[in-house]
Symmetry: C2
């Protein structure tokens, strides 16, 4: 999509999904002079608060998807659970949609995703299909059941420790995977243009909240030997080339006990593990995504400073309009940036915002981030809940 | 304004003026969860494209100013030429307005600004009042005439080389100042809270376009000896304490041939010389301003990487809807970030956008910035102008 001349706006970008990823995408795109339209069913959703246009509608509504795509020079996503059949029709009719609906359809199905990666010799854990209550014979425990469709942030994933646990398996079409005894979970943001230009951000460590299985802390750069980081970047780059991805992708990986790298999952959009790039890299993941889907040259991905990001999750026993406490104290920590997404309701473990700390030493950034995490609480003002409920 | 609890939005911030400074302020504020209302006479002005609300109206319209201030928890500015009398009444009635209308009134008058600085022992060039055609006796040439009210971006400033030049002086109430034979022009962004917390960003060099007298390139950090940088930061800090400023201030200074520092001018708002902070500092000038006026702790100001900013000015012989050329080539330069403000019309020398380059070596960043400046042109699509005209 090389253009000699740009008029203002530089182009119209449609975003399917108006959550925090759409909001941050819109902010970077508007900084560069693009026009942003968002499709989302929630009035005044986070991205709508920064976009030029908001089409109120569902991600599976053919008319609304068509309206968005037809008014946009290029359409992209902030979520993956969309109607790919409609988008495929629109792409076939000549509309620019990145990543391609065909790829999105593959990635939506965790089994097909892994099959495609394995076909392309991307290292992954051993896996096979399983449709509870039917399971293959000769299972090696422990193993991990992953529901093929619709899981996110830990939903639809279950560790099965022994044969008896199979009775409690999630009753949905699934894949089962060898349980990987990993040293660390790693992630790399990989951007790729339609013309094949490809760039990786640094390798980061993801630390998970065991209770909610949501990423709790991202540490950049990962504290791993240089050869592991190189291996991780090479594997991540190869994965995105293998699937012919256009846009930015979050490649989640395991670093095994013997320093091998296995791809766990690929997100076809900006990713929680790349939020730190806003403050810490030459080009952030959101700008990089916009550059990739708009056919512009990719930006430099080098780290300007070590950085640590922590998510601010809605507290586990309340819901309602968000109430933030501890903000003054957190903002007193040198190097801290505060992001609040503008969701109208806090729910247990819902991602309400994040903070990023930049510091000259990564261990100092980790200590400050842990402190910030304790200081800042987001609760729902309406009522206390007895039982915790997990919601995005 | 310490608060234990914040609800969403964190607060309502009113911005008088909807240009690029308001746009970038709004983007940082909305990232943190604030609600932004903008007062500006231009439909779909840059800040309105990112704000929550736009009040269409003039900066001197009492009703509109009152409407903005009354609906905002705190009101601030993106320009200095506003109706301070109305704002003073509103401040007296208990509304939070930062910087204070009283201070703004002083700074609007270049003579009073310098008088106040001199009273507080801030180093400034020798100056006195002059109201052409009347001039004091015993003038030392060359000297600089500065119109007291309404000048910006080089308008209202004239170098008078000898006594004969007085006949060409601008016929308006003015101050005349010793011509400073400086080595470099420097600038420091200084932020100060209502409770007196104060922080300075690094010292930068400003390089001017001689034709338009608009800042052409900002180099961070300034290539000056450490003791000069310390002196500049101390003078800048003292200046803002002296005038009891709240918010962020751009302090422009001269570094004289004998390494002395003289304050040239103070802008009571984010400043062109601080745009580089978006990419290159822990906390950018826009977030810092929001923190200061909202009563939040100030952020760290350290430089994460050397950086150079160049303005993208409307080309000197055309006007009309902006047409950008050379963008692809510029975006191929590693470390380049592109900002386009969204003004509907390009005019000669109008600030249409800027680019910032981060690089490990400042000289490399300068070379890339100079290249970017040559590559990217912004012209007006409507017609070519014979004569150049200077407009903001």
């Amino acid at each position: 999509m090389y253009r000699k001349r740009f008029h203002f706006p530089l182009g119209k970008i449609g975003i399917i999904g108006g959550g925090q990823l759409g909001k941050m995408m819109a902010q970077q795109a508007k900084r560069m002079g693009f026009h942003i339209a968002v499709l989302d069913p929630t009035p005044n959703c986070p991205a709508a608060q920064t976009a030029d246009e908001h089409i109120l509608g569902d991600f599976f509504d053919e008319n609304k998807l068509t309206e968005l795509v037809e008014k946009s020079d290029v359409t992209t996503y902030d979520i993956e659970h969309v109607n790919t059949a409609v988008l495929q029709k629109l792409a076939d009719a000549g509309h620019d949609i990145h990543p391609s609906p065909h790829l999105l359809e593959i990635l939506q199905d965790k089994l097909r995703q892994k099959e495609v990666l394995r076909e392309h010799h991307v290292p992954v854990a051993a896996f096979q299909q399983a449709d509870p209550p039917d399971f293959p014979a000769n299972l090696q425990f422990p193993l991990v059941q992953k529901v093929r469709h619709g899981g996110y942030d830990g939903r639809g994933v279950m560790v099965l420790r022994d044969r008896r646990a199979l009775a409690n398996a999630i009753p949905a079409p699934s894949m089962i995977e060898t349980f990987v005894d990993f040293k660390k979970e790693l992630a790399v943001m990989v951007a790729r243009s339609a013309d094949g230009e490809i760039k990786c951000h640094p390798v980061v460590e993801m630390v998970f909240n065991d209770e909610a299985n949501i990423c709790d802390m991202v540490i950049a750069p990962a504290r791993i030997p240089q050869h592991c980081a190189e291996r991780a970047r090479n594997v991540a780059r190869h994965s995105i080339e293998a699937i012919d991805g256009v846009g930015i992708f979050g490649v989640e990986m395991f670093l095994t006990q013997d320093d091998d790298v296995l791809v766990n999952e690929i997100a076809a959009r900006p990713h929680n593990s790349g939020h730190y790039t806003i403050e810490a890299c030459s080009t952030c993941q959101f700008e990089q995504h916009i550059r990739a889907v708009a056919g512009l040259p990719l930006g430099a991905t080098n780290l300007l400073s070590p950085a640590v990001m922590v998510n601010l999750l809605g507290c586990c026993n309340s819901e309602g309009p968000p109430v933030i406490e501890g903000l003054h104290e957190a903002l007193s920590l040198p190097g801290l940036s505060f992001h609040f997404y503008g969701k109208k309701v806090s729910l247990p473990f819902r991602k309400m915002g994040h903070v990023t700390i930049v510091d000259t030493a990564v261990e100092d950034a980790i200590a400050k981030a842990a402190k910030a995490k304790k200081l800042v609480t987001v609760t729902g003002a309406d009522r206390s809940l007895k039982k915790s409920r997990v919601q995005m």
